[in-house]
């Protein structure tokens, strides 16, 4: 009884958050926004080359040491992974799909104009 009431309260509150349109849909608009997101993933991560996926939902970043980070939107925040040799990527017609090797993080689909560059860089990690 108590459990059921709590469950109803939980879904009501979460539903209310949707109804009030809380959250928002942030996008990565420019290099500064990506640099900020990258430094949140790893403090001090320097962005040398940045490619933002069309729509601003994800990005790929390379630092001066050649390390590559994939960033994606998660809820109304951004999360990322610095890629290792375990990372895999596949090229689609208009996008790159990056798998950071973390099944719970999931594969990230990035519609990019310079997908071949990143595919090559990731495969060389």
């Amino acid at each position: 009884m108590e459990f059921g009431a709590s469950l109803i309260a939980i879904f009501t509150l979460a539903g209310l958050a949707v109804w009030l349109r809380l959250g928002g849909n942030p996008v990565l608009r420019n290099k500064n926004a990506v640099s900020l997101a990258a430094s949140e993933v790893e403090d001090g991560f320097e962005t040398e080359r940045v490619s933002i996926a069309r729509g601003g939902q994800a990005a790929l970043v390379r630092d001066p040491k050649g390390r590559i980070m994939v960033i994606k939107r998660h809820g109304n925040k951004f999360v990322g992974r610095t890629l290792t040799a375990a990372a895999r990527c596949t090229e689609e017609v208009d996008a790159l799909v990056v798998d950071a090797g973390d099944p719970h993080f999931g594969a990230v689909r990035l519609p990019l104009s310079d997908a071949p560059y990143w595919a090559d860089a990731i495969n060389r990690l």
């Binding site: 958050a17 959250g23 925040k77």
Partner: protein, 320 residues
């Protein structure tokens, strides 16, 4: 003997307070909430009460057993000893500080406590993001001194409940700073925002429950700065709203590390700080902070040079 659970009575207040904060969020900061994150946080809260009902009996039996060996006796009607209540509250809060500190510095304890930190948001629903697996750590040992001093386990449970209720309201961005005297003594939204931050400056700081004085005494206090935006969560953000993975991810990671590591390092993966590895392949909070200090020192050094040296337009010895 009093039969009273303060947290049970507080639940309706929690719900109303979350509703009020959501309205504040709608008007002032819509990004403070994210519906799926809220759902996960609240499900954590419900799950933790179920876990408490399932496994709490073992803990109660253990402390009642220890109570039989108490050094002092407050008498059969111990609940009528009025001064024992505030004293128990104070000592329990000191206990909370240390169990909480252990929760951040010992991976076995962190495996349970990380749940409370895994949201990238900081709102009242985050306060209810409580662990399901605390009964599988040795946190209970920290309560033993209180029990052996003669405080009845029920009294400890009640003051502990009030401690948790106090901590609910400090999980908010809606309140900036409290009056100076209050900030000096009590744990506040400002102090606790620091605790939930992943900024290197703030890592492993402000463990207090109710009284911030413990952090000041034991050297872990860090004030919130106005010039630094706080980012919340954990160093390696989960990037998923999968509830079961959110609950068990650190247990899975820790057990996998223990399984894979050489024998002589297995215990270290259980008892050393989160992020520690025998091959240095991951970062501890200390390593992240040290790197940040080094980086900011270098940056400050370059900023302190005269402009002509930072940005020379003429060779040395010549006028710039």
């Amino acid at each position: 003997m009093p039969d009273f659970s303060p947290t049970q009575y507080a639940v309706p207040l929690f719900v109303v307070a979350i509703l009020i904060e959501m309205v504040w969020s709608r008007l002032r900061a819509p990004q403070a909430y994210e519906p799926r994150d809220t759902l996960v946080s609240l499900a954590f809260g419900l799950g933790s009460t179920v876990a408490g009902a399932l496994f709490g009996g073992l803990s109660v039996a253990a402390v009642l057993g220890a109570y039989e060996h108490r050094l002092f006796d407050f008498g059969e009607e111990w609940w009528l000893v009025w001064w024992a209540w505030p004293l128990a509250f104070l000592i329990d809060d000191l206990k909370y500080y240390w169990v909480h500190r252990a929760g951040h510095r010992i991976r076995w304890m962190w495996a349970a406590h990380v749940n409370h930190h895994s949201s990238q948001h900081y709102n009242l629903s985050t306060a209810l993001r409580q662990t399901w697996t605390g009964h599988f750590t040795f946190g209970l040992l920290f309560a033993l001194p209180l029990v052996l001093l003669g405080f009845h386990p029920v009294m400890i449970g009640i003051v502990g409940g009030f401690n948790l209720i106090y901590q609910f309201w400090i999980h908010t961005e809606a309140i900036d700073k409290m009056p100076r005297w209050f900030e000096a003594i009590m744990n506040t939204p400002s102090h606790h925002r620091v605790h939930h931050a992943t900024n290197p400056r703030y890592l492993d700081k402000n463990y207090a429950g109710v009284f911030i004085i413990w952090d000041k005494i034991f050297g872990t206090f860090e004030p919130e700065r106005d010039d630094e935006v706080i980012r919340y969560g954990i160093v390696k953000q989960l990037g998923t709203f999968n509830l079961l993975y959110c609950v068990f991810h650190e247990w899975i990671g820790m057990l996998a590390d223990i399984w894979r590591s050489p024998w002589k390092h297995k215990l270290s993966y259980l008892l050393r700080e989160p992020g520690w590895t025998h091959d240095g392949s991951r970062d501890t909070s200390g390593m992240i902070r040290a790197r940040w200090i080094e980086r900011t020192k270098q940056s400050a050094k370059s900023q302190s040079k005269p402009v002509a040296k930072r940005n020379p337009i003429a060779p040395p010895q010549e006028a710039a």
